[in-house]
Amino acid sequence: MVPPMARSAMPARLETAVSCLVLLGVVSAIAGLALGLLFAPASAQQGETYRIILVHVPASWLSMLIYGVMALCAVFALMKDKRVPALLARALAPTGAGMAALSLGTGALWGKPTWGAWWVWDARVISELILLLFFIGFIALTERIVDVRRSEQAGGILLLAGAINLPIIHFSVQRWPSLHQGASIALGKPAPMSHFMVWGVLLMGLAFSCYAATMVLLRLRNLTMAADHALA
């Protein structure tokens, strides 16, 4: 729980943080979209369809990053019996679920013209779907249990159980025969596409991160207000 003194000091700081994040997010999104949509040439294999990478890859990255942060929050919340990380996990969950849903949705729009199907039972696609189900499961579980401590504990245990899915998603395109293409951007490997697109995707990743951070801050404020209401 945010201590009362910190809470009273929050609005001005929150406003500054949100303004900075929105500014950085908008600038990087404009730059990323310009590079990826206007300057990058068409792909030799996939034509123009591959431009979906500008939103598909950042959404997928963010869904995994957010789940990873939530799992870390769960470790702190369970081990140290702390409230702030548990609150942070709850603030992250809906945005994480949205990112996983966007990853699957934009993936379907990419898959249809490329593979000829909206959906395939492929290791990476299934593991991303399981990630979405863990987000939804966490939200449903923590909303349903009225007792705050029990709700946080149950949510934390669910998050830790689901964390096994993260390496499965990451390695799914290397370990199993997969329709899904390999990692487009990986450290220490030349990217199989134009530099314009690589930078476009990285800038969009930054923009998505700024968006997610903004949503989390705004949701933290709402959760704190709701908790105040419950206490009053």
Partner: protein
């Protein structure tokens, strides 16, 4: 720049529906989520004020 006209850019090599559909989906989500958070905030503000 690989484009010769605006029409060519919008058509996206005949795959415009998929490409713009994906961008539209993200844009819709990125408008709806902050909106619901603002509405929720306004509701909580009214409720907390009503209590005092």
């Amino acid at each position: 720049m690989p484009w010769h006209s605006l029409a060519e850019f919008i058509a996206m090599g005949g795959r415009g529906v998929y490409v713009w559909g994906a961008f539209g989906l993200v844009a819709l989500a990125f408008v709806l989520e902050p909106l619901t958070l603002f509405w929720q905030h306004r509701r909580l503000q009214r409720r907390n004020h009503g209590q005092r």
